[in-house]
Symmetry: C2
């Protein structure tokens, strides 16, 4: 019986699970928070202890890994982590293959989640889809012809830094008006802060929620305030949905996939956000271009289930 070991190196948490191939329930599952002063070595040590506890005397047939940062998927080498230091050019695939002696595949979390949704989630039966995660950042992963499309240099999927408003505010990438600059949780918080500082007489619902401490602003609190009718929170939320909607409409015209699957914390922002997103995407795409936009189905375990798909995928290809 084939046994798949699935690993998830997130920015703030580490998780590992064991599953019998073709089963859809975890045999065993372990999860731990990454310490605030973590580096690549401490993360690897924690992961080793999770794996030891999972495997006991068993040997996996294959390992699949989701990594929260840029990865060269052909060699399985991590390029870096934006959250944890020391991950520069770590050959994670080789490390794990030497340690456990079984075929290992590593890819970045957006690609792995795209594969997971395609095999087990909201993408089942759809051979062309774009998975988008909208939370701390905005990223994406492609399934085309039923396979991951990572691009010539492994960099495909970067919807976050598509320019949708050349007159917009400056993004961390240096350009103006990227999708991420409007749509991500932290940027929504920053945009709300800027408006609250300039419009002292508005946004009382939001001000009350954060007890007037602008540093407590989060995407989640903005969604809460918007659903209660706060005008500033609603404006920020609508702009997030608008930017993402323009991006999705442009992509529908360019690649014409069947489905867009949206995951990540910001997708819990509620009906206003979803409706604006759907309307804007439909208006941006040409009338003859068809597509659906649906929420992701796998939730917090998406990277792990995606890692299972990655390991099974590898086995079936070899």
């Amino acid at each position: 019986m084939a046994l798949i070991l699935a690993l998830d190196f997130g920015g703030t948490k580490l998780a590992a699970a064991l599953v019998k191939s073709s089963c859809r329930e975890w045999l065993r599952y372990e999860r731990r928070l990454s310490p605030s002063n973590a580096d690549a070595n401490t993360d690897l040590e924690i992961m080793r202890s999770l794996i030891a506890s999972l495997l006991q005397d068993a040997t996996p047939t294959a390992i699949g890994v989701s990594f929260g940062g840029p990865v060269d998927a052909t060699t399985g080498t991590v390029r870096l982590s934006h959250h944890v230091s020391g991950w520069e050019n770590i050959p994670l695939k080789n490390l794990l293959e030497q340690e456990f002696g079984v075929p290992t595949n590593v890819d970045n979390d957006a690609n792995v989640a795209a594969l997971g949704e395609y095999r087990f989630g909201a993408g089942k039966g759809y051979d062309s889809l774009f998975y988008i995660t909208i939370s701390t950042g905005v990223g994406g992963g492609w399934i085309l012809n039923g396979k991951l499309w990572q691009g010539a240099g492994g960099m495909a999927g970067e919807i976050g830094h598509m320019v949708v408003d050349p007159a917009g505010p400056v993004c961390l990438c240096g350009k103006r008006g990227c999708v991420e600059r409007f749509a991500s949780g932290p940027y929504m918080a920053q945009n709300a802060k800027d408006i609250l500082q300039n419009q002292q007489q508005h946004g009382n619902i939001l001000r009350n929620l954060i007890q007037n401490d602008l540093n407590l602003l989060t995407g989640q609190l903005i969604s809460q305030a918007a659903s209660k009718g706060d005008s500033i929170a609603q404006a920020v939320l609508l702009k997030s949905a608008w930017a993402l909607g323009v991006g999705i409409g442009n992509i529908a015209n360019l690649i014409n996939p069947q489905r867009f699957i949206l995951g990540g914390s910001v997708t819990k922002a509620g009906e206003i956000w979803w409706n604006t997103l759907q309307t804007t995407a439909r208006e941006t795409a040409l009338p003859e271009v068809s597509f659906e936009i649906v929420p992701a189905a796998l939730g917090d375990d998406a990277p792990l289930w995606g890692a299972v798909a990655l390991a099974e995928h590898n086995n079936s290809n070899s």
Copy 2:
């Protein structure tokens, strides 16, 4: 010896050629202008006479067709032509297969040209590329993993209607600030006309070229005036290159192809246009995303050579 018949139904011209499979020179070649009052029937009649003259007593092994308008490539049915009436839902593949008794493949000109450049032109050896034609309109065709990618509904490649400036002028599609609204020849002419009407004291080089008749403005004359230093012509040309450059940079981030190959009359606009395009695309893409932008290699015969590739492609797949 396999004999390929290649057909090109352009908006204003019809062309047909015959080639021995794996040869790279035409055996015979015929070309005729489409009359100004043409409809689908007259175009088909002209094409039949070109074919009869080409074939004489020979029988082709396969037929490849480039059509200047939206096509359902899976059934080979023309959806419509924006230039010639009566093409709505014409089953061109079936028509030709019944008439000549050989396998026929039909696709729109941007996809066919992409395939042609990939097999015989500037895309040889590049398994992922985006071909863009910039002339009367702006359209594109994808090669991914060495194969045409037409999208789930056959609509992929529509870079022309990607929004790059939501505050820009209204496009024929109803949206504001699409790539095509700045980059195509006719829209460059319109944009120059608008500026010339509002700035009476500028644009003398361009005014002289058109002898003050604003209706004579074309993309080509704007390029000429720009190369001679006309400030209005240069502004219009830079905006064309900027819009296309933003589009290409966004697409590099999203799909990460190896090459962008640019064809069509506007690509003859000269060094200012190319330099601005290259710089803008590079600034729009993330630093770690690599790509090249190169001119198309096949020139006016691109649709015919693409049709050869389409026919050979079909033969080798079956």
